[in-house]
């Protein structure tokens, strides 16, 4: 009897202890749930967007360009363009329903715009009701995300933005009693078992959405009894503290939907982008069904790797939706007959431009630590012009297709802004391998010559474009005893010639002599002023390009030439916004006048001569007559590198060709890169370079020796732009010498110089 009482007491004590432990456990779980749920910050990698396309009357844009953009942005045809991301064609025009976006100027609302394409331009631009619209923007294309190493990625969605059909289909498949239960559902479990037995496979899961969220959010993926024991009270506690809407929204953003290398695809928002290339709100029922179907096994039902299996799973979800009355038989049959409509993984713009993204990543790394980039959801507006990028890729690829052993790089910039519009670092532009545009260090050959000429032109009392230099053999004995004997590409020497011709015809001996006369130190300083930061070896061979630079650094150098001496750091980012679209940082254009406008203009003029009379003649013959361009060819020793860098008023483009084994390319700057450059420039909307000389430069006629003023029509006389300090005092006997304006200016300048 006493033993019985003792046992009962012990039992009560044990129960009491158990209750206390359970209560403590519950309190601990409760704290854990609230702590995580209340303080949760979604991990969002930085997203990089291309330049938004501006639409305005008069903008150069062909119908083909517009089609390309609509295809990249995955606009779908719809007879009345009812929803954002859709378009309708009408007689001679297109009605677009843009998606809208945030920007540091406030951004753009989603809106209807009607545009007509007249030849190569946008003709009329109006809104949906026909009122004129001065400017509208297409939303920028997302071209990448910055997620160092292994990390989660997602596109956050708010519950009110999620299509109700998706939510209903989700419940029909995963948790029909979601709105009735308190976290767990015995009825749901029994129904799932029964349904699965009837279907002969796992059609429904036994866990509620709340339980699934608990698993994803707090627990490991192992299926253990202890986890099950914790899962149930946690689900109950979660329901106790939070509304159904909060739980559902968190679920929709948390679910794991697949893997993309080191990047885990989470949430329905990113799932829609990752599998279908569109925002969630724009998907159709069969695509909702696929996303929901993936919840059961993202790898097993991966629609790209196992399309048949994925399709079966999708159809089960559609069937479950129909059985709940969400789709009628006709609609069910319509969507069951649809293809999976999954975008190919490589076809997404997210992977299309790895080398440009590489540049963005490097420029971002200067200002943002990796953990911020990986988690804060920064919105990065970049300078990439998608159409220019596609042109650059296509033209490089067209040229290199028959030359398997060659590779190349192309950079296109907008000189005035310093914006990198396109960057190609490989002839296979989608491969994220070696980025030749940024990392190939190659001898720049004759692309160095403009720096030599500029070093001379900055000494106007000694040199001008008509100064005569000798293209003839000579040698320089170096400090280490070696002898440098520059030779011309054709192994000939042409004798006395004007500096302009030496540059236009790329004469090695004449330019080398000019470099020595101008001074090695001056030439090195000029390279540095132009933006070269790499070490420049202090040898005269740099005059002819024995100087290893990347295509990018070389483009920086030519950028300064194209802007008339204003060094403009090349930027790939214009704005950084936080995850809510609030501006964080601007990257404004910050040019610096590093070369006086006068010598910079003279160099531009000489590079123009290189195109009209020198090594760049091919381009002038191909391009429209009104398109004034300037540029320079370059070929390194043994034709191991072939270059061309040139510019119009609106674009600077640089093309490099070479072999990864450093062998002979078989091309010179003229026969290879110039051809690619010309086809790129011909395909871009262009503005000619400005020819008007700045104050302090006058056009004068000079004798052939360049030392006396002459007159138009005199024997051998040529007209050159000259800085006032270079204008000779002596005049020739021939012709009527024009009066040289600028004297008064010279007088005033004398006050301060």
């Amino acid at each position: 009897m006493a033993a019985g009482i003792r046992w009962r007491r012990l039992l009560w004590q044990l129960l009491l202890v158990g209750l206390v432990i359970s209560l403590l456990g519950l309190a601990w779980l409760d704290a854990r749930i609230r702590q995580r749920f209340d303080n949760h910050q979604w991990q969002l990698p930085a997203r990089v967007y291309a330049r938004p396309v501006e639409l305005y009357s008069g903008r150069e844009m062909t119908g083909q360009n517009l089609d390309q953009l609509l295809s990249l942005l995955r606009y779908r045809p719809d007879s009345a363009a009812r929803e954002p991301g859709s378009y309708a064609r009408f007689d001679g025009g297109v009605l677009l329903h843009t998606r809208g976006f945030r920007d540091s100027d406030g951004g753009e609302p989603a809106q209807l715009v009607r545009l007509r394409i007249d030849g190569p331009r946008i003709g009329k631009l109006t809104d949906g009701s026909g009122r004129p619209v001065p400017v509208a923007r297409l939303e920028p294309l997302q071209i990448g995300s910055i997620h160092p190493g292994h990390s989660e990625d997602r596109v956050l969605v708010k519950l009110e933005e999620v299509p109700p059909l998706l939510v209903h289909m989700l419940m029909a498949t995963e948790d029909r009693g979601f709105h009735e239960h308190h976290g767990i559902s015995i009825r749901g479990l029994m129904r799932a078992v029964f349904a699965n037995l009837r279907a002969g496979e796992m059609e429904q899961g036994g866990s509620t959405l709340t339980q699934q969220l608990v698993k994803n959010f707090w627990l490991t993926r192992e299926r253990t009894l202890s986890r099950k024991l914790v899962e149930i009270p946690m689900a109950l506690l979660l329901e106790l503290h939070y509304s159904k809407a909060q739980i559902l929204e968190t679920y929709l953003n948390e679910v794991y939907l697949g893997q993309d290398g080191g990047r885990a695809i989470h949430g329905m928002g990113l799932g829609a982008q990752f599998y279908f290339g569109r925002p969630l709100a724009e998907l159709e029922p069969h695509q909702f069904a696929m996303l929901i179907g993936l919840l059961k096994g993202p790898s097993y039902y991966d629609p790209r790797r196992h399309p048949e299996r994925a399709r079966q799973r999708r159809d089960i979800v559609l069937q479950a939706a129909a059985s709940q009355g969400l789709l009628d038989e006709k609609v069910l049959s319509h969507f069951r007959n649809k293809a999976l409509d999954v975008v190919p993984k490589g076809g997404s713009a997210l992977y299309a431009f790895p080398h440009f993204i590489d540049l963005v990543r490097r420029q971002l790394a200067r200002d943002y630590p990796p953990h911020i980039l990986a988690s804060e959801g920064l919105i990065i507006h970049s300078t990439l012009d998608v159409l220019a990028q596609l042109v650059a890729e296509q033209k490089l690829s067209d040229f290199l297709t028959p030359h398997k052993e060659l590779n190349g790089a192309v950079i296109i910039t907008a000189p005035d802004q310093g914006d990198v519009l396109a960057l190609v670092g490989d002839k296979s532009p989608r491969s994220a391998g070696f980025n030749r545009a940024l990392d190939a260090q190659r001898p720049i050959g004759s692309l160095a010559k403009p720096a030599v000429v500029l070093a001379a032109l900055q000494q106007p009392a000694k040199f001008h474009l008509g100064s005569v230099v000798t293209d003839g053999p000579f040698e320089v004995r170096m400090e280490d005893g070696q002898v440098w004997q520059p030779k011309n590409f054709d192994n000939q020497s042409l004798g006395a010639m004007a500096v302009t011709d030496a540059l236009a015809q790329s004469r090695n001996q004449a330019i080398a002599r000019l470099g020595l006369d101008a001074g090695l130190g001056e030439v090195i300083r000029t390279f540095q002023k132009l933006g070269v930061q790499s070490r420049i070896p202090p040898y005269p061979s740099i005059f002819l390009g024995s100087l290893n630079l990347s295509p990018f650094e070389t483009a920086v150098m030519y950028q300064t030439i194209a802007t008339g001496g204003q060094r403009t750091p090349l930027r790939s980012i214009t704005d950084v916004l936080d995850r809510h679209g609030q501006p964080l940082a601007r990257y404004p254009v910050r040019p610096e006048q590093v070369i006086d406008p006068e010598p910079a203009y003279l160099l531009q003029w000489a590079l123009r001569q290189a195109m009209t009379q020198g090594t760049g003649r091919y381009a002038v013959a191909q391009l429209p007559e009104k398109l004034v361009v300037a540029g320079k060819t370059g070929t390194s020793d043994g034709q191991r590198d072939a270059w061309f860098a040139g510019f119009s008023g609106s674009h600077l483009a640089l093309v490099w060709l070479g072999r990864d084994d450093n062998g002979d390319t078989g091309f010179t700057g003229s026969s290879g890169p110039l051809r690619i450059w010309t086809s790129i420039m011909a395909a871009l909307p262009q503005r000619p370079m400005r020819l008007a000389p700045p104050t302090g430069v006058e056009l004068v006629w000079l004798d052939p020796d360049g030392e006396r003023l002459s007159g138009k029509g005199c024997d051998g006389a040529r007209e050159y732009p000259l800085m006032t300090a270079s204008i000779p005092q002596q005049t020739s006997a021939c012709g009527k010498v024009q009066s040289v304006p600028g004297g008064i200016r010279k007088w005033f300048k004398g006050l301060f110089d």
Partner: protein, 149 residues
């Protein structure tokens, strides 16, 4: 040296005379966009107006973005560069302001008052960089243009 001194005396005297002879226009006085500026009547003009509104509300970042967008559409507009120069001055970036004003000058129509105002902007930008000599030279250019009026 003597020559420079004589020139300075002559210049000062002539400027004083000129100042007495005619009522000088203040080159810093606010002036409008030159009628021949390609911005006038173009789609980019809307963006410029939005930039002005943003600037009035002290939203300088947004104003900068509007102006850069407008310049992309209308790169030959001297007025847009002038506006960007003024904005950069407000943002305490006189170096960029000077370059932008020089660009504006390069594209400017032959209107001495407008060009003088640009030189004055350059002078301010140079002075803020501590380049007093450059500022004086720019002011002189402005004065010469005003005398040509």
């Amino acid at each position: 040296m003597v020559q420079r001194f004589v020139r300075l005396i002559l210049l000062s005297a002539s400027l004083m005379l000129a100042a007495c002879a005619s009522r000088m226009t203040d080159p810093l006085a606010p002036m409008g966009m030159p009628p021949e500026d390609p911005l006038k009547g173009s789609a980019a003009e809307t963006l410029w107006q939005q930039a002005v509104t943003a600037r009035e509300h002290n939203q300088l970042s947004a104003a900068g973005r509007y102006l850069e967008r407008a310049l992309y559409m209308q790169p030959e507009s001297s007025w847009l560069y002038r506006e960007l120069a003024e904005l950069r001055l407000r943002e305490d970036d006189p170096q960029t302001a000077e370059v932008m004003a020089q660009r504006a000058l390069r594209l400017a129509p032959k209107r001495p008052a407008y060009q003088a105002a640009l030189w004055q902007l350059i002078a301010t930008a140079r002075a803020r960089q501590g380049n007093e000599q450059g500022a004086a030279r720019a002011r002189l250019e402005a004065e010469m243009l005003m005398r040509r009026q």
